[in-house]
Symmetry: C2
Subunit: 205 residues, 2 copies
């Protein structure tokens, strides 16, 4: 799972061109996040970001397809799904999710969490970015829904499987928002587990 910011050393063997490219990319991300945090996403223009990173505006679009992309960061959803799919098929859905969350979060360092928090703060404060994030969640729900249906031996677009899977991803997203709104003071893994657990409690009868 690729962390929200690049913490991996670019393998000193990389070519000069590669290293330059990494540096430019990192400069764009840093400049963008700082500007977004300071003056808001909407009020920041591509020209601002490019100027702060000392490249031409055209160059920005050679690294990111949209203004939103640099704010959203890498999408971790697909990896999550891969990890869930790798769990034994007879394991209950919620158990699989819990295990995967714990495993994935244990790989995140404190710095990673800080970076994640910074990103989430920006994303959840900006309606258009929030919308994009949910678009990913929707897609994840759809994919893992078909996965679940397949495990159960049902048609791929089985309504129940999709409702279940979407509810799980919704719970994850709500937990992230909750964590962010409390400035990351609570333990992320605990919040996520609590959110998943609440699904079981709420609809238990």
């Amino acid at each position: 799972m690729r962390p929200p910011v690049d913490v991996l050393p670019p393998a000193a063997t990389a070519s000069l061109r590669q290293r330059k490219r990494e540096r430019t990319r990192a400069a764009l991300i840093a400049a963008a996040l700082e500007l977004f945090e300071r003056q808001g996403f909407e009020a920041t223009t591509i020209d601002d970001i490019a100027a702060a990173a000392d490249v031409s505006p055209r160059t920005y679009f050679r690294y990111f397809a949209t203004k939103e992309e640099v704010a959203l960061g890498d999408d971790l959803g697909p990896q999550l799904i891969g990890l869930i799919a790798a769990r034994p098929a007879e394991e209950p859905m919620l158990d699989s999710v819990r295990r995967v969350i714990d495993d994935a979060l244990s790989l995140l360092s404190g710095e990673d969490k800080d970076a994640l928090l910074a990103r989430l703060r920006i994303v959840y404060r900006t309606p258009s970015l929030r919308a994009r994030r949910w678009e990913f969640q929707l897609e994840m729900g759809r994919i893992s829904g078909t996965l679940l249906a397949q495990r159960r031996g049902l048609e791929p677009d089985d309504l129940g499987s999709r409702v279940t899977a979407s509810a799980v991803f919704t719970a994850i997203e709500v937990a992230m928002d909750h964590w962010q709104q409390h400035d990351g003071r609570e333990d992320l893994a605990a919040v996520l587990q609590a959110a998943i657990a609440h699904l079981g409690h709420a609809f238990g009868g």
Copy 2:
């Protein structure tokens, strides 16, 4: 609850100005939806819509703030929440939702459902529109989450309440998508009820 298209007679007592305005608005909506359906949302420009409705592009923005707005139509979420809030506080969450869904859908005529289906078809085929719809769902989940927390006597940002409420709205959205993907052949109310029921089954243990 305001239906997806204007079925209310504009109260023949309305002024000439009012009636003209309603007509222009209706023309814009009709032109936009037809163009979106025929050539897709992205491929349709504001100029196209304005030309088809025989007004200037500038005038379009005097009726709708964005290109998305005319496609999304009126948001029914707030009314849904109002109806849920009006239910007795001791009634179980899922029961309230079921009742409200039945009551609300009984008010929709066949034509309304056709119009709704046409809208949903466009919305769910266009990523940016889908994202906007889910943004509304998120907001609905947040609002009804605080409502639920308040009923339970918990803090307004209680995680569990928000997870529960968000899961319900997610289920509704999934049901709508499912219904639309099957070209509205299934009964909408039945699909919605089934989705809600699945929440209970999936997390029952």
